[in-house]
């Protein structure tokens, strides 16, 4: 948590499925924790895809394939749809991912990732398809995510793309700051708004 963000180069874990919902990222029965132990959520990331009903690892699932590792998750379009559970972002962070690359993110989940210092990087469909192909051809394909420059580069092909993030959030990620600090510091403005809107 709150690991400052700069430039990351890593191999990737590919999950070429679309519409991965947060119920798959962390099933509801793991939401009963009252603390934020990321290791607990990380251990249960993609629980029902990762393990068979008898608790043994599902060898067909990418997290159990020793060929793939790294702190970048590459996922199909519309990642994180459905439930607002921030536990999904805790599970992703707890597993050790620091970046998720997809061509489209669901709104609430995207914010949840940002609030947990996991960087959602939205790329074009083309870029994503090429990246999946690169990883398929060579599991050791590396990607560089440069937050200061807002670029993502597939090192196998050299293809690079700009990604969007607002200046405020970029500053927060690079400096380990969060929104609550900002909002508490701005309480005078909130009180002023309240007086004007009674």
């Amino acid at each position: 948590m709150k690991q400052k963000f700069d430039i990351i180069t890593s191999t990737c874990v590919p999950l070429p499925l679309e519409n991965v919902d947060t119920d798959q990222i962390i099933p509801a029965r793991f939401l009963k924790a009252t603390t934020r132990e990321e290791s607990f959520f990380g251990d249960n990331l993609f629980r029902d895809w990762r393990y068979r009903p008898d608790g043994t690892p599902n060898k067909d699932f990418v997290l159990n394939d020793p060929a793939y590792s790294g702190c970048i998750l590459v996922a199909g379009k519309n990642f994180g749809s459905g439930s607002s559970r921030e536990h999904a972002a805790w599970a992703i962070a707890g597993y050790g991912f620091r970046v998720v690359i997809s061509s489209f993110f669901a709104d609430i989940h995207k914010n949840n990732e940002l609030n947990n210092f996991v960087l959602p990087v939205q790329v074009s469909e083309d870029f994503l398809a090429e990246l999946f192909a690169s990883i398929k051809a060579d599991a050791k394909t590396q990607v560089t995510v440069d937050l200061p420059a807002q670029t993502v580069t597939n090192l196998a092909t050299g293809r690079s793309e700009q990604f969007e993030i607002n200046g405020y959030k970029k500053h927060c990620l690079m400096n380990g700051l969060d929104d609550i600090d900002f909002l508490v510091q701005n309480q005078i403005k909130t009180e002023l708004w309240e007086q004007q809107n009674k």
């Binding site: 405020y168 909002l183 508490v184 309480q187 909130t190």
Partner: protein, 461 residues
């Protein structure tokens, strides 16, 4: 420009952060037991008090059992989470409607029925179905736990302003077609990400004619097409629903409030980033066949043929559901029926269900769970005598809560079993590991419950 969404949003802007999000004032925060404990922890770590505790309302709903609520919760982990909410609410000075309190129920059912969600408000909760409250003419949306903590600490949230969309549905709904079917139709048209990045205003003849319960169902499902929220401009239906409710202004304050609420509509010159129009005549009772709510068909239609290698998600979903491309689902054997959830756990939903089962019998092969959305709904069911009709037909009414919608309590659909559910999500494992879910309206659920198979409710209405 000049949409109702703009009017409500712009009025709540405390400041625009330079090259960043908007600091938005929040009128109402709801907390349930699942997505709040880590926010309360964060407040304690920072040594903060809630900035405006009187604007925050808490109630457990996800873990609550739907039987024997007067006894301690058997599952110790669920009990710990429910107890933590009570303790946290007391420590931070927040209103808490505990289990067995007559005020308890699903947060998205209780908020509107107590008049806590009002036109023109900004409303948030750590729950994606917070969009429900948009039916009152409010800007309501789901947030994460870090954002819950933001609101506790400052009564504000930092958000990028979403784009605006208007969806018009004109004409008149046919017999046996409900707000749920409208929503399932829209999801299939737009897909589960078609409205991502947008706030949706619903308008048109069909929307104007909908009851408050129907509007709540429709707005509830906005998130299932990706929209952060959906809302309906307040009108006489809204005012009639609200008048006299516990937290609604009374007397002179009521008149003043209504006068303001009447101004809450999009201007004739309003410009939406996207506008779509549909015809009610195209909507029949709907069911889903796959593992996201956008994978739906008219009840008489066949599952699409698309699939193969070009769409691995489609085949994967059908494999999970045990269905084949091109298959018709009418006549398919059903194991479970669930009536309830923040989507369809209101009085009108129970009236609809009862209207079909009256004078018929529950099929012996079906296990049916009927779960009111709140104790207030439960009371009204009994006052209207619906309980007698349901019992005579072989159904029992359980105690309020989220129940089998997400199976955080004991109400889990067993692996492999097929459920017709009035809830909101048919994701893999949503209603229990391996459970197979078909989303439908209360009428369609009732038709399945009495026949034991997927049945067009129009044959029984």
């Amino acid at each position: 420009m000049n949409t109702l969404f703009d009017k409500i949003w712009d009025r709540h802007v405390v400041q625009q952060v330079e090259d960043g999000p908007t600091q938005l004032y929040i009128d109402r925060l709801y907390c349930h037991e699942v997505t709040s404990p880590q926010a309360f922890d964060g407040m304690r770590v920072r040594g903060l008090k809630c900035f405006r505790p009187e604007k925050i309302f808490c109630m457990p709903d996800h873990n609550t059992p739907t039987h024997d609520q007067d006894k301690p919760i058997a599952d110790p982990v669920s009990k710990a989470q429910v107890d933590a909410l009570a303790r946290n609410a007391a420590e931070f000075g927040l209103t808490h409607y505990g289990m067995m309190s007559k005020d308890n129920g699903i947060i998205h059912v209780v908020g509107p029925e107590k008049g806590l969600s009002l036109p023109g408000m900004t409303i948030v909760c750590g729950d994606s179905h917070t969009s429900t409250h948009g039916a009152m003419g409010a800007v309501a949306f789901g947030i994460g736990t870090s954002e819950v903590e933001m609101v506790m600490a400052s009564q504000c949230i930092l958000q990028q302003k979403p784009k605006s969309m208007r969806i018009n549905i004109n004409g008149q709904l046919g017999k046996g077609v409900t707000a749920k079917d409208v929503a399932l139709y829209l999801m299939a048209q737009l897909t589960t990400s078609g409205a991502t990045g947008y706030f949706v205003e619903y308008a048109g003849d069909v929307i104007t004619a909908l009851s408050m319960e129907g509007r709540l169902t429709l707005c509830n499902l906005s998130i299932e097409m990706g929209a952060r929220g959906g809302f309906i401009a307040p009108d006489e239906t809204t005012f009639a629903y609200l008048k006299g409710r516990e937290y609604v202004p009374k007397g002179e304050a009521w008149d003043k409030a209504v006068a303001y609420w009447k101004t809450l509509k999009s201007g004739d010159d309003a410009v939406f980033d996207r506008e779509l129009t549909f015809d009610a005549a195209d909507i029949e009772p709907r069911i889903t066949y796959g593992t996201n709510p956008g994978m739906g068909i008219g009840i008489t239609e066949r599952i699409p043929e698309q699939g193969g290698t070009s769409n691995p998600g489609f085949q994967r979903a059908l494999d999970y559901m045990g269905f084949k491309p091109g298959q018709k689902l009418l006549g398919t054997k059903v194991d479970y029926v669930f009536l309830g959830a923040c989507t369809n756990g209101r009085i009108e939903d129970f009236r609809a269900f009862a209207s079909i089962v009256e004078g018929r019998r529950k099929a012996d092969s079906v296990v049916a769970w009927l779960v009111p959305g709140s104790w207030a709904v439960d009371l009204q069911i009994r006052e209207e005598g619906l309980d007698k009709i349901l019992q005579a037909a072989g159904f029992e009414i359980r105690q309020p809560g989220c129940s089998a919608c997400l199976a955080m309590n004991d109400d889990k659909i067993p692996a492999g079993k097929l459920a017709v559910s009035t809830s909101n999500r048919n994701f893999e494992g949503r209603q229990g590991p391996g459970a197979r879910t078909i989303l439908a309206s209360p009428l369609t659920a009732a038709a399945a419950a009495v026949t034991g198979v997927i049945t067009d409710p129009r044959e029984l209405v």
